[in-house]
Symmetry: C2
DNA sequence: ATCATCCTTGCATTCGAAGTCATTTTCTAT
DNA sequence: ATAGAAAATGACTTCGAATGCAAGGATGAT
């Protein structure tokens, strides 16, 4: 009869009113009880917490978000998760944000430039901020600005107005690699670039090319795609372009370096590093595998993600704060994939 | 003077009331305008859409979630994102859910068993469902059930009551691998397991061990950790345990297989597959690299994620639906890391 | 005992959109 | 032109928690 006592669809969905009734207090008291530093008498708090436990009450973050205008959500927008470098970044970011009481709304793009489609959803969810590892147009950045949603770019920089960003220094990294290669007495240089729409790809290639020219060396550049197979494909192209004389290869990331190393050894019977030196960029874990030990630049992922999260939270809490660009030097990892000076 | 016209803090944060005022209609009309199949006169809709565009209006998903009791959020709980297999799964899941108009709340665990800490947050955000690739206790599963939040486990099964799940068949996969190895005339078998708290790890090892025994073969088992270095470490242990006679190695995943292959070749000078056959599990991309070409079982990730998403959505839309376990057969990928029969 | 002060507590309102219901407008058929 | 049906629209309430405000209670000083 009195089935109303325990409506099954209700279990686990208790509201602050239910808890209030159970504890014999007002809804306000319940709300205060879950808020840090609010004024509640110890005895009342006890009663409320007991009632909350009994009813399995958890504050509705959606309702909280509506009234406080703080969703406690941060959007993470990442282009290609399969890039081997990003999973580590994503895990780090997520755990750091979690530790700060912030939840992650994940947007994964099929292509670096599919951002527009997800922005719509980003606005709808009233995220407090965003960390973006994808290419944003100036208008898209302006949209964030208009809405007062702080953004931190990861390994990207804004093309127009200044935006906060965290980057690993491509220039110093590539300079270090090129310098080492040049000292190692190489003669025919090749570069494998990233895909055309990749910011870091272009930046790294440009830096390497420039340094080579500064040192009076010429080079051939072929386009890669940041993945393993494109390392192989690009190596074939370069071998053709250099009549097989290629002896130093600079790859825009480790994955292509690995592809090229395998291809050189297996498809061309070339010894690495005796006949061909190969260097990469990123410091992903396969780069350290025994078979490769790629000479590369390791990005300081922990420090970079830490900075990204800190910068974002600062800007969420102090909306006026001006943008900040932080550049982190990578560490030269001397493997055995290159003869160095 | 009339600065009220454009309150800066307001831009991009227009509400349905603002749009209504601008268009000279009621808030209800605006709401209906954004709802599929509601009754709005074409001319009114025009006016409203124009106003919305002008004010940069996007419906507040938080408010929608509160009133409709549908957050359109799904929690994805993944233990170790760095596992090389999961990034692909995560990207697939995210994109498929996005395509269905569902947003992903990501929870990444440092250890497979840290689930409790995140569940709290899962309840608070009133997610419509969850996809979990981590170990859940029966009580945790019961909590989902109590709250009416559908769950689909990914490569895990419920330990107590039935739960929906999507798995790649470890048993048939390992049987196929073992059968092939046995036919390939191997004599001393070793197995590298996963970490103790990994469900699939235990399942795969148990299946392999059972099959070996069925075929009258003995084997040594050492514990691994699913990562590259533990493949090396475990191989050393096995070489010691077998006096260097090991000639067939079954690894609970590809990453350890790769670690073992590298270690065998480089640390022990053993030829793979001539002197030692190595098989893995998963079909991650490095397994197909020229240097390894691991003989393994490839999980049908696309079909599995598709099923997981479909099953979850079904259960969100029809809360009564009973749990369903779907098992997918992996595909035997015949590489060159093992002599087969 | 008396009053000022601080701490607790509840009432009422608010956030932004959805949906019910009643009302008005438009359309259809005669 | 007109009754009747159908479509379009608006007023109002609702979801669940936070918070300003005012009232009540406890505490301390005199």
């Amino acid at each position: 009869m009195a089935a109303k006592k325990q409506p099954e669809a209700n279990s686990g969905r208790a509201t602050s009113y239910d808890v209030a009734r159970q504890a014999g207090v007002s809804q306000s008291a319940v709300s205060r009880c879950f808020k840090q530093g609010a004024s509640v008498a110890p005895r009342t708090r006890e009663k409320i917490l007991a009632a909350a436990r009994e009813l399995n009450y958890y504050p509705n973050a959606i309702a909280q978000g509506l009234i406080t205008r703080r969703s406690n959500l941060v959007a993470i927008i990442i282009s290609n998760l399969t890039n081997l470098y990003y999973p580590e970044v994503l895990a780090e970011l997520t755990q750091r944000l979690s530790a700060q009481g912030i939840r992650v709304l994940l947007f994964s793009l099929a292509a670096e430039s599919d951002v527009d489609e997800v922005l719509d959803q980003v606005w709808r969810y009233r995220v407090d901020g965003a960390i973006v590892a994808a290419r944003l147009h100036p208008e898209q950045l302006a949209a964030f600005d208009d809405r007062g949603v702080p953004v931190v770019l990861y390994n990207r920089v804004g093309e127009g107005d200044p935006v906060s960003s965290v980057c690993c220094d491509s220039v110093s990294g590539e300079y270090a690699l090129v310098d080492a290669l040049v000292e190692g007495d190489h003669h025919v240089f090749g570069i494998i670039s990233g895909p055309a729409d990749s910011y870091v790809g272009e930046e790294r290639v440009e830096a390497a090319r420039r340094r080579l020219h500064q040192l009076g060396r010429d080079c051939q550049i072929v386009r890669g795609n940041f993945d393993y197979v494109s390392g192989d494909a690009a190596l074939r192209d370069l071998m053709r372009l250099t009549d097989g004389k290629l002896d130093a290869l600079i790859c825009a990331n480790d994955l292509m370096a690995i592809g090229a190393i395998d291809s050189a050894r297996i498809n061309f019977g070339i010894e690495v590093p005796q006949d061909l030196s190969v260097v990469g960029f990123d410091g992903v874990s396969p780069a350290t595998w025994l078979a490769y030990q790629v000479t590369t630049i390791r990005q300081p992922v922990r420090r970079m993600t830490e900075a990204a999260v800190a910068m974002l939270i600062e800007r969420i809490e102090q909306p006026g704060l001006s943008p900040e660009q932080r550049l982190f030097a990578g560490e030269l990892l001397t493997g055995s994939s290159a003869r160095l000076g």
